[in-house]
Structure formats: structure tokens, C-alpha cells
Symmetry: D3
Subunit: 162 residues, 6 copies
């Protein structure tokens, strides 16, 4: 069984991420979208909110699972018996960093292979950090997020709670 | 009327920044040097000190205005009716980031076009982050700053106050 | 008067090139699309054919002129009294080369400033060399070329002649 | 059925290429190593010799087929009903070019997805162009070629014929 | 006398760092491995622990000295009468940053020349930041560290103390 | 004895090359500027002319020798008992290529270490290919060439002969 882990902080999960998962579906039997619970970075969305949004996006995809994890990605891969790590690459700068991570992961866990897909050209500039920054300043990022992931409804809900 | 916004944190405003503005002057009717008031980054110079320094640099240039803003750069551009964003690029790494920002800005505000000038070769290594680091350690960075921007006089003034 | 030279081999002139010229129009009083007659490279389209295609693209733009030249671009700029060179950049690799050329041009002809616009994200992969290669193999490149530039009609015409 | 085309000029097929194919085997039902017959480049090995060498490398791999083709890679993919293009990437410079090619291929043939694997770190510097150059000058490149691909036996055979 | 400073945060000192120093030994009369005491970054190993580990690595190399410093690297170089700064480069992204730093250092202290060696291919992905991250999560990084630098014994010792 | 080979096609030898050799002099006992006689590239200057020019540049430097060679650079290094290869790097694109060459050379001839110096910022854009192109079109490249290397006198001499 071909199990791929698509790990990231997904804060937020963008149209670029969605496109990578959808195009990778024919390659794998299961893709786990795994939210790395990196506590040191101060996030915009909570882990719970991210899970809620990504679940909406893939509600009709039976091969996609959503999860969150702490610790090393290679340890998580071992735990869920993944044999592949799925990655999207946008730019040459991304590539250099992705290569270092993938090659070190390979040294530590040789049974897992990193597989890369490109983002589609019109989504290449869509970068989570910039999207998050716009969100923080109250800008409209709908065009960069999956149609099914209504981050604004979520933000409303959050405000209602407080 | 051709209005360009030259946005940045300018902490400090370097000879590289000065050169970009001066060479861009013939292209535009007005260039607004706009200091992004990014409160999360801990700066070396205060916003007031940065305005003071940049004002000294362009005191005889009637087409240059100095301003500070909070929030998204695209929102600021709308407010000041800018139709261009002026950017300087130094390296390929800069370029990748600048491209992502410019293309996302273009998606959000299609009426504003990003225009790039190169830094001059001898100023290519002059990087605000490194300059700020040297300043913090008490090093001499005069050769990297505009002749008219006396950051040391400013630092003296600051010490006198405390 | 702000005159920009947009120089290239344009073999063929793509949608990416068209987009750069159209977005640069508000910046300049005249843009000269100048086909560098580099005899050493073996082209797909003749200089005459390239002029014909680019003329079709900009027939309704009074600020755009089309020309061809031999020799150095800086010498051509002097001849047509240009004060700007317009360039589009797609990738970091492009950028490094463009920077070297622009900085050497600036050393030889300081009165001319290179101004860069980005290609739009969906046109970033559109690369003349690859397009030309597809054309040579009889592939369909219409989606990469300006709507008004019918390269296939031109190829038909060429075949009819022979 | 998951069919991937691994296209290239493979002049010569290196240990880097071999490693990409072997690591990609679990992902696909069939991998076609397809030698692009690009007549304009002057090669070192003939197409026949390249087929001979690559066949030796994968003689025991039932999922690997070797083929040569002329014309566009996308047309070849259609012909052999491939739904994936397999690519190895070594460096950031590679990446930029690979991205342009993959994104243009995707525009022309949306049913085929490009899938990238990294070369292993110790094989990253192994570049066909440099290997070919060393071969031409009579240097020893055995360490860069698959153990089963004896290019020197082939060169001996060739000399014997002349 | 040829004195080189090999400065870095070395948190931890990796096999990649070790390889650069060993290969540079024939070039210099003395190499000072100098730990930059950058208090703002929150480290994994204390300065004392780093000194202990690096000392173990080079205990039999009479030309290698270990030191720690605060403030600017150029000021440290002046103090120890170094005429060279030794740097290792792994990737193009590294290179761009290294170039900016080296060229600004050269402007401030023209008597010191930066000399670059490459990491060996199999050590190219070994990046201190990623290694430190793995260490923090309790992963096994022995393969990325010098054989003589037992970081785990050190961590045990640290635990024993607390 | 520390012998470095500085190999290249040097067509022409630029101010950038000169600067690298001069700054490397304190590191080595002998630097051999070695012109690779790559017959496949069609050059502008003959090997004889290049030797003549480089000889003029270093006439007063007793540690610099000028030579030309055919075949592989590693074979040349063995022949002249060099233990170092000296390289200048200008840009990230250069770096990627230089790294591949250096790492393959290291695999073939482990006793020779590649040592890299940076070009100075103002010489970074000076690229032999562009300089040669300007020379071919009769442009003035004096500012990019060593003061002592009068390429124009050489061209005059050449014309006089014909």
C-alpha cells in the first residue's frame, strides 16, 4: 500500500497545497495531510481550526486523511507506516531548503522517499507566510485559499466566542 | 500622474536605497518613501529616527515624499493613489521573494504595477540586516549609508536624551 | 520624453513579452520593440516574419514602435535616444543573467537605466526557446502566443512560397 | 495502470539516473526510459549504444522498458499512454529549467503530471555534460556510471569496428 | 604567518564543518575555530559545551585553536591578527548570503580575505539548523556529527547535573 | 610547496580574473594561470594572444606563471604537481556549476582541493562572454580589462598582419 505524508504547518492551507494533493491522488493509495505542531512558531490559526478547514476541503476525497503531529516528521512517518513524503515546490529557494530536509530525512529513514510535485504556475506566488500576513492585517485572501475552506467564517466564529 | 510607493523597513536607509530612488526619479512624478511600521520586528532605529534620516537625504528633491504606514502595503497604495510600487533588487534570493510579494500584490490590487531597478554593483552587498547588525555592535557603517544621513549624530542625540 | 527600448530576439514574441510591453505603456512615452539581429544564432522565424507578427500585436498601440538592429544594444539605444531599457524577468536564473547585462550596459552607457517588470505568474513558464522547440516539432503553441500574432498563418504563407 | 516516462538524452546514462529510476519503481507499474533523439546536439554515444547500456543496467527489472523517440516528449507520452513524467533534480539551476518545461508540458497535455525525485547527495555533482566531456578526453568516469553499464567495453567495441 | 578564522555558531559543529577545517589545514599556519557568541539566538548547546565538543574533534591537530568571541567578526579578526576568513559553502542560497557578508567584511577590513571551500557532496544536506531541530526532538544525528564529538555523552552529563 | 592552478578560457582575461589572482597570491607559493585549449569553442583571441596579454598583466609578479593546456584540467594539475585549484565565483548561477565541476574533480583527483575567492562587488557583472560579445561588435571594454592588458593594441597588430 502506497501511503504518502504531506506535512506542513498549513497556516493556512492554500489553493497551492490543495492543488498538490489533488494531483498526487492518482499516485498513492492514501495521502495523510499532517499538520506539524511546531509550538515555537506563533501561528494565526489554531491546530483545531486548521484541521477543520482542511477537512472541509477534502470531505469528498476518501483517500485523504487529516492529522496533526508533534516531533520529527520522520518519526511520524514511521508511526503511520508511510513510504513516501509528498512535497510541493514553488521556487528555487524552496527547492534548496526542501532538498536539504529531504536528503537528511532519507539518511535517517531510508525506507521513505520524498516525491515532489510542482505548484501550478498561477499559484506559484501563493506563499503561506505572505497569506498569513495579509490575513492578520484583515486583507482579503479568498482567491488564494481553496473554495471549500472558508477561513472568514472561522474567524467570525472565533470572534463570536470571545 | 505617476505616483510610486517605495516601501520598506529602512532600518537603516542605505546608499543602495538612495541610489534606487535617485535613478527612479526620471520615471515618476512623485516617489513616496514609505516606512512600513511592522511592530513585530524589533528595530534598531525608531520610526521617527528613520523619517528624520530619510528626510535629510532627500531634502532637495521636490518629487520625493517620506511617510510611514501600518497595515498592508496594497492598502497604503490605494490610500495614496499610487499606481506603481518601486522595488530595488540585489540578488537572486531577493528576486524570488520580491516576485512572490509583487505577484500577490498584483492579484489583490491589479491597478498597481511593481517596477524593479537593480542596485549598482558596488552596493549589491549592502544589506540592511547586516548593516543593522554592525550598527548594534558599534561598528562603522558610514560607507554604506547616504552621505547626508548621519546615523551617528542621531545615536549621539539618543544617548544624550537617556 | 521617456523612450524605452525593449530588446530581444523574439523568436517568437510570446504572450509573456506582450504582457510586459502592455503593462509598461503607462510608464513611457514610447516603447521600441527592437529585434536584435544576432546572426550567429540560427532562428526559426526570419527578422521580417518577426516584425510582421509583432506589428500585428501592437497595431492599435500608438506608443509602440517595432524595429530591428545589429550590433550592441547600448549603441542602438544611443541612436534612438532611449533613456530606458525595458526588461521582463521570469526566474531567478533569468535574473542573474539580466543583472550582469544591465550592470555592464550601465557601465558603458550610464544615461540609460534598465527597468524590470515581472511576467505574470501564469506566463512565467513561457520561454521562447522552449516555444521555438515546440514550433519546430510541429506542436501547438497558440496558447503561449499573443492572440493577434498568428504564427501558423505565417508558416502556411512560408510553405506556399516554397 | 501507472506509466511514467523518464526522458532524457542519457549521453551517458549515469549513476544519478539509475538511482532515480530505482527509487521511483515502487511508485509506478511501468517506467519507460526514453532517449530523446535530439539530432541537433552532437552526441558522444550513438542512440544504439545508449540503448545497449541502459538495457544492461535494467536487465533484471521487469517494470523498466527502454525506448528512443523523436519529436516532442508530450507527443511521445500520448503515444505510449503515459500519465506521468518522471524527472530527477540535482540543483536549483536544474529546478528552474525543469519547472519551465514541466509547466509548459502540463499546459499542452494536462493529463500528464510531472513527478520529481532528488538525486542522492553523493551523486548530486554527477552531470552528464561534464561526464561526457571527461569521456571525450579519455578520463576515467567509471565511478559516475552504473556498475552494470560498461561504457569502456562499448568504446573498445567501437574502435574494433573502425 | 597565515592565520584563518573559521567563525560560526556551531550549534552543533557538524561533519561538514570538520571536513572544511581538515581540508583547509594545508593552506594555513593556524586555523581558529571561533564560536560567535550571538546571545540573541537561543541555542541548543551552551558555548562551553560547543568548545568542549570542538576541542575533542581537533585534539590531535596542533594547527587548530578553538575560541569564542562576542561582537563583530571583523573586530575579532583584527584582535587575533588573522589575514583570512575561512568559509564553507553548501548551496546557492548559502552562497548569496556568504557573498554579502564577505563583501561587506572586505569593505570594513580590506586586509582580510574570505576563502571558500565546498562541503563534500554527501555532507551538503547537513545543515546545523536542521541537525539542531532533530537533536531537540530527541532524534539520532550521530551520522551528521564528527566521530570524535559525542554530543549524546554531553547531553547525558547535562541531565546528570540537573 | 603550495601550487595552485587558475584554469579558464580567459577570452579575454578580465579585471575580475586579475583581482582573484592578486588576492590569492598570499595563499600560495605559485599560481599557474592555465588557459584551457578548448578547441570546440570558437574564441575571439588566439591562445597566443591570450598568453601575451596575461603575461603583460603579471610581468612583475614572480609567483605567477602562464601556461596553456589541452585535455582535462585534473590531468593538467597532476602534470604540474598542483595541490590546489583556484576559482573565482561571481554569482549563484556560477556557484552551482563550479560546485559540480569541483566535486567531480575532487572525486577523480582527491589530492587537489578547490579554493574559491569572490570577485569584488564592482567587478561582479564582468563576464567574459559578455565582454567578448562587446569586443566582437567593436565596443569599448577597457574598463573591464586589466590596465596592463591592452587588447586594442593586440587587435591593431592583428589587423596590420592581415
Amino acid at each position: 500500500m502506497k501511503i504518502a505524508v504531506f506535512a506542513g504547518s498549513f497556516d493556512p492551507f492554500t489553493k497551492g497545497h490543495e492543488s498538490v494533493v489533488l494531483r498526487a491522488l492518482p499516485l498513492f493509495d492514501k495521502i495523510i495531510v499532517a499538520i506539524g505542531n511546531n509550538t515555537s512558531k506563533n501561528g494565526f490559526l489554531s491546530i483545531g481550526e486548521r484541521i477543520e478547514l482542511i477537512t472541509e476541503v477534502f470531505q469528498s476525497e476518501t483517500k485523504v486523511e487529516i492529522d496533526a503531529y508533534e516531533g520529527l516528521t520522520v518519526d511520524y512517518c514511521k508511526r503511520v507506516h508511510a513510504n513516501f513524503m509528498l512535497r510541493g515546490i514553488r521556487t528555487a529557494a524552496d527547492f534548496e531548503y526542501e532538498r536539504a530536509v529531504a536528503q537528511m530525512n532519507k539518511s535517517m529513514l531510508p525506507s521513505v522517499e520524498s516525491v515532489f510535485l510542482l505548484t501550478t504556475p498561477e499559484l506559484t506566488p501563493v506563499n503561506s507566510t505572505i497569506v498569513r500576513d495579509i490575513l492578520r492585517h484583515g486583507g482579503d485572501v479568498s482567491q488564494f485559499l481553496p473554495d471549500k475552506a472558508n477561513v472568514y467564517k472561522l474567524i467570525e466564529k472565533r470572534k463570536a466566542k470571545n
